[in-house]
């Protein structure tokens, strides 16, 4: 069986599946249950300064987007950092780490943007025996209004400054958790690296309003008639997270910066995708908040089976394997020509391919009176919309035209690789050599 053990910034864990800093990791009770279930590591829910803890709202903290069968697709939260006393959390962290020495235990931190509070809290964390710290520069609600969380994460200079303070004041590995609520994820990642971060983790949650109550005209979740934006997470955010992870992984300035992948990881496959795009491990939250800790068993068995089938012996062999394939649009082969092909045996005659193409695309799928659907190669631009809307898996596929074949749409012969940079329509095209 494949070896799932993971070493991330020097922190060892029996598998690459960690729980993200969030409600499931707020207490000893929960974390012990997570470790018993098989989770490889935990990032303890964010600790704040010593003193009176933060308070949470006493109405709904979460709002959700559901599919028709109440499948939870996206979750929004307005919970703040831990609302339990610092000493209680530290005591529990120490106890848990003592009992689970083989598991990763990282502590998330968020204190005011000054050096002294960071200097004060870091030794207290070190004393617990925790494996590392994660700097919460991502939380987009509540704490950001107080100059913390994403208020720091949105200013690369602050990220660099705080990271440097932390590195100067602890021997522990430092993971910087990034907010996606920015324009270019590479800038905060670069800043974290300049500050000396050992790794970045991303994404934190995305600013969101899940829905609007159309009777009361108030955003959900509604607290006594009002609502505030929260942080969006869960399966719905995964594509956004994958792109941000890939952007950092393929950016020359940050390519060597380890990444802990977060954002909608629900199954072993999601985890493998994050890892292939450059994440050294993954962190999970919404999936366990939906189904409980037991899902890690599927993640372990699924990743193991995949690795065995592929002849991959260690997780590290997957890390970043898809990164070289992520390119700029300009690099894409404009001479790669495909045409949609409909498998008439699989077709169930719903006509969705036809109407999508007819109404919204290129009028490239003909419909006969007896509901037979035929691709018009002379119109098909290979947009893939028909493949995407077809309800039958594998019914519509794209056939690649070989070099030398003539594209019936353009009348041109398919040639070797060439991209936009040399295309005659490009005013700044370089002359083909």
């Amino acid at each position: 069986m494949a070896d799932l053990t993971s070493t991330f910034v020097g922190i060892k864990s029996p598998n690459p599946f960690w729980l993200a800093s969030a409600p499931p990791t707020d207490k000893e009770y929960n974390v012990r249950r997570a470790f018993e279930a098989g989770w490889g590591g935990v990032v303890w829910k964010t600790l704040g300064e010593d003193g009176p803890p933060v308070v949470n709202v006493n109405g709904p903290r979460y709002g959700a987007i559901h599919g028709p069968d109440r499948r939870l697709l996206g979750l929004n939260n307005i919970e703040l950092i831990t609302d339990r006393p610092l000493d209680v959390n530290l005591r529990e962290i120490k106890a848990v780490k003592r009992d689970y020495p083989d598991r990763a235990l990282v502590v998330s931190l968020m204190v005011p943007c000054e050096e002294e509070p960071w200097k004060r809290i870091l030794p207290l964390v070190e004393e617990t025996g925790a494996d590392g710290v994660e700097l919460n520069f991502g939380c987009p609600h509540g704490m950001a209004e107080r100059g913390m969380g994403s208020a720091v994460g949105q200013v690369p200079e602050y990220i660099e400054m705080v990271t440097r303070w932390v590195k100067q004041n602890t021997r522990m590995p430092v993971i910087v958790k990034l907010t996606p609520n920015i324009t270019d994820i590479r800038r905060p990642a670069e800043a974290a690296k300049r500050g000396g971060a050992d790794a970045v983790s991303l994404i934190n949650t995305i600013n969101s309003i899940t829905s609007v109550d159309l009777d009361n005209f108030a955003p959900e979740p509604t607290i006594d008639g009002w609502g505030a934006h929260g942080g969006y997470c869960g399966p719905a955010v995964k594509p956004i997270a994958l792109n941000m992870v890939a952007e950092i992984a393929r950016h020359p300035e940050t390519a060597d910066l380890p990444i802990s992948g977060i954002g909608g990881v629900t199954t072993w496959r999601d985890a493998a995708e994050f890892i292939a795009l450059g994440a050294g491990n993954v962190q999970v939250c919404t999936a366990v908040m939906t189904y409980g800790f037991k899902i890690v068993q599927e993640m372990i068995s699924g990743l193991s089976q995949y690795m065995d089938e592929k002849g991959i012996s260690s997780v590290d062999e997957i890390v970043g394997r898809a990164v070289p394939k992520v390119r700029d649009w300009n690099d894409l082969n404009l001479n790669y020509v495909t045409k949609a092909v409909i498998d008439q045996d699989k077709c169930i005659k719903c006509a969705r391919c036809h109407i999508a193409c007819e109404d919204t695309s290129h009028q490239a799928i003909a419909m006969s009176d007896d509901r037979v659907f035929t691709v018009k190669d002379e119109e098909c631009v290979a947009c893939n919309l028909c493949v995407n809307v077809c309800p039958v898996d594998g019914c519509i596929t794209m056939r690649k035209l070989e070099i030398g074949e003539t594209d019936p749409r353009t009348g041109e012969v398919v040639r070797e690789y060439a991209n936009w940079t040399t295309h005659p329509n490009n005013p700044s095209a370089r002359a083909a050599q």
Binding site: G67, P68, I348, K349, A351, R352, H354, M367
Partner: protein, 440 residues
């Protein structure tokens, strides 16, 4: 001593009232909101959808299902009712397995169509529960149309005419309206007083008056109707039954299934409906199935449907045949009745030879203390002036008969299957043609 399933002869109350009530509960119970949300999500919203094409009333099924899925079942109901004012009953009684659901692409894809009928019921129940009529009449035209029969065809025709601003008088032979919905459909398909509730709801449009106990060829003649109205629509259904010409068919324990079902439908709790211990139903259509299943539900010990042709030829759908057998009814194919005795029915076995049915000469007897004839209904009492096509009143694609100013639709008219939904379509379309004719 109270009777039970083992009591010989024909007896009422073989089961307790509670048991009978449970037996006759909704065959397809309504979907709740969550079930409807999940089921509606299965619809692919096909373009030019096969289900709609398969619906005799051409309900825009993908649209109404999408309206359910977005939390507006009332809007869905309007989509349904605008094509089929008896959409509530059709949701209950349509053989969807041979219509919309057979055409559903999910049926082709995975053998499990979207449950269109139950979704339709979800929507129509919701709107009808508001107890207000959703359509308004156009300005009065001053025209007056006679409709014969308050069954599905007559009601659909009358409603559409009333909506167009015409006044309508329906002449109904029986004491109640609804036609086969009230007297013929199996009780477990339209439990409670749905047929009457729906009738009242349809009449909510206004402009429709019903005169009960008025039978064409009785005190009422087509000439009178034509003389006193601007147009006449005939939707009186099939008033007669095919005769069973075998020895013993006049015996006391032999009855037409339609009459027995009509009595059962009119009974409050059905404990007063006598049923045999050993019941034999002769026939192969929906009436045979409905009679046999309801006999079992009343507590008959042995119920047999005997059909003279083979399974493939049976008019009742596969679904209906399976329903019957699941209720403990035995179906015997290729058995033609030869004689009804005091204690049973003697059948001769048959087989198909070159498309023709031949008797093998081999006979057998099935014990029976009650025999129900269900070998088809037939037109009765129609005005002789009207041309026939086969055994029905000949109509063109607009529902026009051979006589100017007289239209016909439903089971009494040629064309289409003898289904509630077909009758609704024909009544509706005839009304549109009448309206066009009256406006000319």
């Amino acid at each position: 001593m109270p009777s039970d399933p083992f009591t010989p002869g024909v007896a009422a109350g073989r089961l307790s009232a509670d048991r009978i009530a449970a037996n006759f509960a909704d065959l397809h119970p309504p979907l709740d909101d969550h079930q409807a949300a999940v089921e509606s999500d299965r619809c692919y919203f096909c373009y030019d959808a096969p289900c709609t094409q398969a619906c005799p009333t051409s309900i825009d099924i993908p649209l109404f299902i999408r309206q359910i899925s977005t939390g507006t079942p009332e809007a869905a109901a309007l989509t349904i009712f605008s094509q089929n004012i008896l959409g509530g009953m059709c949701a209950r009684v349509c053989p969807t397995e041979t219509l919309c659901e057979e055409a559903c692409v999910r049926h082709e894809a995975e053998g499990k169509p979207v449950e269109i009928g139950r979704l339709q019921r979800h929507a129509t129940d919701r709107l009808m529960a508001r107890n207000s009529h959703p359509f308004q009449r156009a300005a009065k035209t001053g025209k007056h149309v006679a409709v014969v029969g308050a069954g599905p065809a007559g009601l659909a025709c009358a409603h559409r005419l009333a909506m167009k601003g015409h006044d309508v008088t329906i002449y109904e032979a029986r004491e109640k309206g609804g036609g086969l919905n009230e007297y013929g459909i199996a009780a477990y398909k339209a439990p409670g007083s749905f047929a009457q509730d729906e009738l009242d709801w349809v009449l909510g449009i206004g402009g429709i008056r019903i005169e009960f106990g008025r039978r064409l060829s009785g005190d009422l003649t087509l000439d009178d109707l034509r003389a006193t109205h601007d147009a006449v629509f005939l939707g009186m259904g099939l008033g007669g039954v095919n005769a069973l010409t075998v020895e013993g068919s006049e015996r006391n324990h032999v009855e037409d299934a339609v009459d027995w079902i009509a009595r059962l439908r009119q009974s409050a709790d059905k404990t007063d409906i006598p049923v045999g211990r050993d019941v034999v139903v002769i026939g192969g259509g929906m009436t045979a199935i409905d009679a046999a299943v309801q006999a079992r539900l009343l507590g008959a010990l042995n119920v047999t449907i005997a059909y003279r042709r083979d399974k493939a030829a049976m008019a009742a759908s596969e679904f209906e045949q399976n329903l019957a057998t699941s209720k403990g009814v035995r179906i015997i194919y290729n058995a033609a009745p030869r004689e009804i005795t005091d204690t049973g029915v003697v059948f001769v076995r048959t087989r198909s030879e070159g498309g023709k049915l031949v008797e093998t000469g081999e006979t057998f007897e099935i014990a029976a203390d009650q025999v129900l004839r269900a070998i088809g209904q037939t037109l009765a009492g129609q005005p002789e002036v009207l041309a026939l096509e086969g055994r029905k009143i000949a109509v063109d694609e607009h529902g026009r008969t051979s006589l100017a100013g007289v239209w016909a639709g439903g089971d009494c008219a040629s064309g289409g299957d003898d289904l509630t939904v077909t009758a609704v379509a024909e009544g509706r379309d005839a009304a549109e043609d009448i309206h066009a004719a009256l406006g000319a």
